[in-house]
C-alpha cells in the first residue's frame, strides 16, 4: 500500500509521517496529483492494482478515484475531516466497515491524524467496506475546500 499526503496541511503531513513510521511508502502532493500520476501511479497501476490511501483535499480523491476505476480499483473507505480553528476536527465517516472509527478519532483530539493513520493503515481490512459504487466525491465535485480534508482508501475491488 502507498500513502498520499498533502504537504500544505499539517494534519496531512502528520498522517504521512505516521505512514512512514509504519514503513509504508509515501508521496507528498501540493494539491495537484499530476506528478504523482506521471512518475508513480500510472506505471504502478498498469502493472497491478495496488492499494493507495491518503489524507488530501477533495480534488485529489476526485481524480484518483476515477483514474483507479480503469484499473479495477474502488474507494472502499472514505471520511471527511472538517478543520476547525483549534487543533481538533469534525469527523464524518462516509464509507467504512469500522463502526467505532468516529469515536476513536474524536477521542484523539489534536492527534487525530496519527490515530487515523493507526486505524486505517494498519487495520485496512477492518475499515474497508464492500460498497463498490462510485463515491459521492467522484460523482459530485472536483472543487477544493481548503478547510476540509478527506481520508480515503482506494483498493482492488476483488480483494478489498
Amino acid at each position: 500500500m502507498g500513502v498520499i499526503y498533502d504537504s500544505r496541511h499539517g494534519e496531512s503531513r502528520s498522517f504521512g509521517e505516521r505512514a512512514s513510521i509504519l514503513n509504508l511508502p509515501t508521496h507528498a502532493i501540493e494539491g495537484d496529483i499530476t506528478d504523482l500520476w506521471q512518475t508513480k501511479l500510472r506505471a504502478l497501476w498498469k502493472q497491478a492494482p495496488v492499494t493507495v490511501a491518503g489524507l488530501t483535499e477533495r480534488p485529489a480523491l476526485f481524480l484518483l478515484e476515477q483514474l483507479g476505476w480503469d484499473h479495477g480499483l474502488r474507494v472502499v473507505y472514505q471520511a471527511e475531516h472538517g478543520l476547525n480553528t483549534g487543533n481538533d476536527a469534525e469527523h464524518r465517516i462516509i464509507r467504512s466497515a469500522r463502526p467505532g472509527l468516529k469515536r476513536e478519532l474524536d477521542a484523539a483530539g489534536a492527534m487525530w491524524p496519527h490515530a487515523l493513520a493507526g486505524q486505517i493503515l494498519t487495520d485496512t481490512g477492518e475499515v474497508t467496506s464492500n460498497d463498490y459504487t462510485p463515491s459521492g466525491t467522484a460523482m459530485a465535485s472536483y472543487l477544493r475546500e481548503p478547510t476540509k480534508l478527506h481520508s480515503w482508501i482506494i483498493a482492488p475491488r476483488s480483494t478489498a
Binding site: D32, I33, R42, T133, A138, A140, S141, Y142
Partner: protein
Amino acid sequence: MALPHGVSETDFTNALARFRAAVGDEWVFSSDEDVALYRDAYSIYWGEPEERVASAAVAPETVEEVQAVVRAANELRIPLYPISTGRNLAYGGSAPVHSGSVVLDLKRLNRVLEIDERNAWALVEPGVSYFDLYNHIQERGLDLWIDPPDPGWGSVIGNALDGGGGWTAYPFRDHFGAHCGMEVVLGDGDIVRTGMGAAPGTKTWQENKWGYGPWVDGLFRQGNMGVVTKMGFWLMPRPEAYISGTARVANDEGAVGLIDTLNLLENQQMVNGSTQLNSGGAGGFGSPGWSLDVPIYGPANVIREQLAYARSKFEQIDGCTFTESELIMTQGPGQEAPPGVRLVNFGVPNLSTFSLLGRSPFQPNPAGGHIGFSPILPRRGEDLVRFRDWYRANEAEASGGEDLGIIGPVFMTNWERSLVGLIMFPVAKDPEYNRRVRAAFERWVELARVEGWVEYRAPTVYQDLVAKTYSYNNHALTRMHEKIKDAVDPNGIIAAGRYGVWPKHLRDV
C-alpha cells in the same frame, strides 16, 4: 438496469452473451455498481427519470473485438454508445445520449501505433490519453509537442471528435482540424479508412487529409455514423521559443481596434498562440476596458520581430498600451518545462486545474460540477461589447430573478476567425436547484438564438435543443444528417441521438 428502448430482455441477454464471447467475461459490465461508473457526474438531471444512463458496458481491446461487438449489436438492434476514455466532463462524461445504450468503452484500445518525427504526426487509438501520447514522445526523445487541453487525462481522439481544443499554436490547438485520416467501424462491422488510408499501400495516410473524392471525416465529428478506432494527428515540431505581449485598451471603443488587429495578426500568421481576452484594461480585472494576451511560438529571432510588428499594429489603436514578456527558450525532449509557465501552453498535459478551483469572490458557493453554454460570436469588438451588455441585460430575467451562481460571459479567442462567449452553469445534486438551472440554460439558448448566436458544443442532454437552433430551411441540415444516418447505420445502433441526430426508429419516441 435500464433496458434499451424496444429491446426485449431475451435479446439483451443474448447480446451480453455475444459481447462476452467477443471480449471476455471480465470486460462486459452489467452489475449496478459497475454501470454506475458510467453515470455523468455532472448530469443536470442527476437522480431524476430524465438522467441519461447506460444499461451495460463492454470494453474491447482490439479493432476485431470492436467489429464483433458491433456486429452482434447490429443483429440484435442493441444501441451502442462509444466513448474513448470517458473524461468528457461537462459534456456528458461517459453517459450515453440515449438511455439504455450499452457503452462501448474503448479505453483498452490504447496504443500509440506510429509516430513520424520527420514529418510530425502520430497515429493513435481512442484509449490513448494526452498523458499517454506525451509520455510516449518523451520516452523516445522525440522533438515534438502535443497540444493538451485543460485537463490532460482525456482521450486525444475523444477530444477531437467532440470538438475540443487546446492551448498551443494554431492549427494544432484545433484538435479535429489537426487530424489527418481515420479508421472507422461502421454499424454493420465493416471498416473504412478515410483520406489516403483508403488506398492500400500508400504511406501518406497521415500526410494528406483529403485523398480523393468527397471528404467524409466531418461526419464523425460530433457524429454517430461509426466507431472511430484510429486517427492521425499532425503534431507541432517543438518551437525554439515562446514570447508574449499584452495589449490593453481603456474602454469599449478600444475593443473594436483590439479585435480587428488581433484578426489581422492571426490571419497574417504573425500571432499563432492561443490568445486570451480579458475584461479589464490597465487597471486590471473590473476596470474599464479590455486586455489581450498574444503569445507567439517560433525561432527566437523571428518571434521577437513578429512581436515587434504586433506591437506596432496594436499601438496604432487610440489609447492602447502594449507590454512584452520575456522570451522563453523551450526545452528539448526529456527536459522539464521552463519554471513558472502554464504547462498546457508548453504542450505538457497536467491535472492542476482541478486543484485550483474552489470558492472565489466570483463563486462563493460553488456547486461542484458545471455545464457550459458556448455560443459562437462574430470576431468583432462591437459584437464583444454587444454580447456582454446583452448578457447583463438578461441575466436577472433568465435566472428567474435568483442568483444561481451562473458565471459569464468568458470570451474565448482560441478559435481563429470567431469568438466564443462562454457562460458556465453550476450543476448540483439537488433536483430543485438543477430544475432552475435548466430553465436558465434553456432560456439563454433561446435568447441567444434570436440574436444569431448558437453553440458549437453542448452537453448530451442539450444536444437536441442546440441542434434545433441550426434550423435554416426547415432544419435542412438535420434532415440531411438523418438521411445519411439511415443509409450508413440503418439499424441506428451507433450513438443514437448524439448531437441531435437520431436513427429512424427513435425519431418520434
